[in-house]
């Protein structure tokens, strides 16, 4: 298990990789990638059952990045975890690249399923969880969604089905960063109260500070321990987390690529000597 010092150092390195990658490619989604960092670090370092030598190990836990636009965070965590060569990040979004801006399962073996059209990943997770039951496997399925993504009706179709089939091997994680492409989530289409919605659909709900590896890891382990019901971790995060001007900018950093100057400022803030000036995550309920 990572200790706090290591977890924070890894998260800073991941953020530096994310921003350098997006800047270099001129494409990608900074805000929602930065908010997801600690969730992905906790998953890939401490929670997911995986075999580093065999991405397709049948007993591996399945992770589905339903918010596919956070691909740069996933790729950067794979590099830090030693599952992918760091050189590959330079090809992000370029022609013939393994690293599509929205992840492609046929190009990168660590991508479980291709995603990018929001609202679809949880249904696939219901399918892999049912598949585990039907094939007598004991792997867990984790699905990471955005909070804006929860505006998609299909998410709730899947939520209903997961509870109906008592899929306790399924864990959903909502990266609740409170912002989406065109504005604050509460302004665009308010999804609060999120906890009550998931609970009403028959899910066990755990809430945690999603930008604290230790806290989110604990929440994920609690969620994995649920019996007879699927569980969701509502991860309270900050869009653009770790870079002061991106945290303030919120939704404006959903799909904007940092300029060279902005990248320099961000990397300075994210240096191991610098300090993260992150604010407290805003609560939903």
């Amino acid at each position: 298990m990572l200790d706090r010092t290591d977890a924070e150092a890894i998260s800073r390195r991941v953020r530096r990789r994310i921003l350098s990658t997006i800047h270099s490619a001129g494409a990608g989604h900074a805000g929602g990638s930065l908010s997801s960092v600690e969730i992905l670090v906790a998953l890939y370092f401490d929670v997911l059952r995986l075999d580093a030598a065999n991405p397709k190990w049948p007993q591996r836990d399945r992770f589905i990045l339903s918010k596919g636009h956070a691909s740069s965070a996933l790729y950067s965590v794979l590099v830090e975890r030693g599952l992918m060569e760091s050189d590959l990040l330079r090809s992000f979004g370029r022609i013939d690249s393994e690293l599509q801006v929205h992840p492609d399962m046929h190009r990168l073996e660590w991508v479980e399923i291709s995603t990018g059209s929001l609202g679809q990943g949880l249904s696939v997770g219901v399918g892999t969880a049912l598949g585990a039951r039907l094939t007598g496997s004991d792997f867990a399925t984790y699905v990471l969604l955005g909070d804006g993504e929860c505006q998609e009706g299909q998410v709730w179709e899947a939520a209903m089905a997961a509870a109906h089939y008592r899929l306790d091997s399924l864990v959903a994680i909502v990266d609740s960063n409170q912002a989406q492409l065109t504005g604050r989530t509460s302004d665009v289409m308010d999804i609060c109260p999120l906890r009550d919605k998931w609970a009403a659909f028959g899910w066990d709900v755990v809430e945690a500070d999603g930008n604290d590896v230790i806290a989110i890891r604990q929440a994920l382990l609690v969620a994995r321990g649920s019996r007879g019901r699927p569980s969701v971790v509502i991860a309270h995060t900050t869009k653009g987390k770790g870079v002061s001007f991106m945290e303030v900018g919120g939704h404006t950093w959903h799909g904007r690529v940092p300029t060279a100057h902005e990248l320099d400022l961000a990397l300075a803030e994210l240096s191991d000597a610098g300090r993260s000036k992150g604010g407290e995550p805003r609560e939903c309920n």
Partner: protein, 324 residues
Amino acid sequence: MSATDDVVSTREAFGKTLASLAKENARIVALDADLASSTRMSYFRDAVPERFIQVGIAEQNMVGIAAGLAHTGLIPFCGSFATFISRRACDQVALLVGHTRLNVKLVGAYGGLVSGNNGATHQAVEDIAIMRAIPNIVVLEPADDIEMGMAVEAAIEYEGPVYLRCTRDPWPRVSPPGYRFRIGKAACAAEGSDVTFVCSGMMVSQCIEAAERLSCEGVSAEVINCATIKPLDAEMILSSVRKTGAVVTAENASVIGGLGGAVAELLGSELLSPTVRVGLQDEYGECGDNVSLLHKYGMDVEHLVEAAGKAMRLRDQRSGAKHR
């Protein structure tokens, strides 16, 4: 052709065949969005209830769950009306089935105009066009119960996405004794030399009847049962059209983008005035800058010039004329 009493609808043949095969193959699972009695997946539900998954009235979720099940090595069949599986769940079919190439079988019951007098909301007229336009999906529309039974078997053996279209009501049987269905192979249901019918589904029996009527008028019509709409059996269609020089396509669907569209595309490219079609060649794009993308996918100026040259060469070869 024989309209015997024991002929059943293609949906009935689908349901019975799937249930029977599922008893022997534990990888087959069935998903239903509350239409099992209409799609005849009810036979599966009664035969192997432990592998029957009811998702409620939620087609988008059904296709997503099927993708997840296929991901674990199972062979999921998703049943719905052709309207809903193609239109309601279109994005899920495109991205979670087409793009992923997962082994999902999509079943559209109540295909086309003749769908039990439910009216426009339940008449699937563009489902074939939608499924054809999505890369990696095999599109099948068997003509009768015999062919449907074989198509279900073939769909299970085939590793990858398949769309299987059924009709609600029984239509005359057209499969001759000893007929073997194969994905990608059309069948000549009647030989002729004056005009070619290219048809699928229940329109095959209609076309055979039309051919019989034409023969009374001294016209010899060929009928091609094109049960695989994608990939199209170009060889058989072209060889027939080379012989007859006149084509009628017939389908229980819109003339745009379906079987008629497929045949028109084929003939435009291969036989009549040469048509070279520039654009994405039934594939998906990827990341890259615009210049690289247009180049890689053959849509830049260079490729347009080549396409024009190719079209003119084809024209000249055909007319024997020498331009320039």
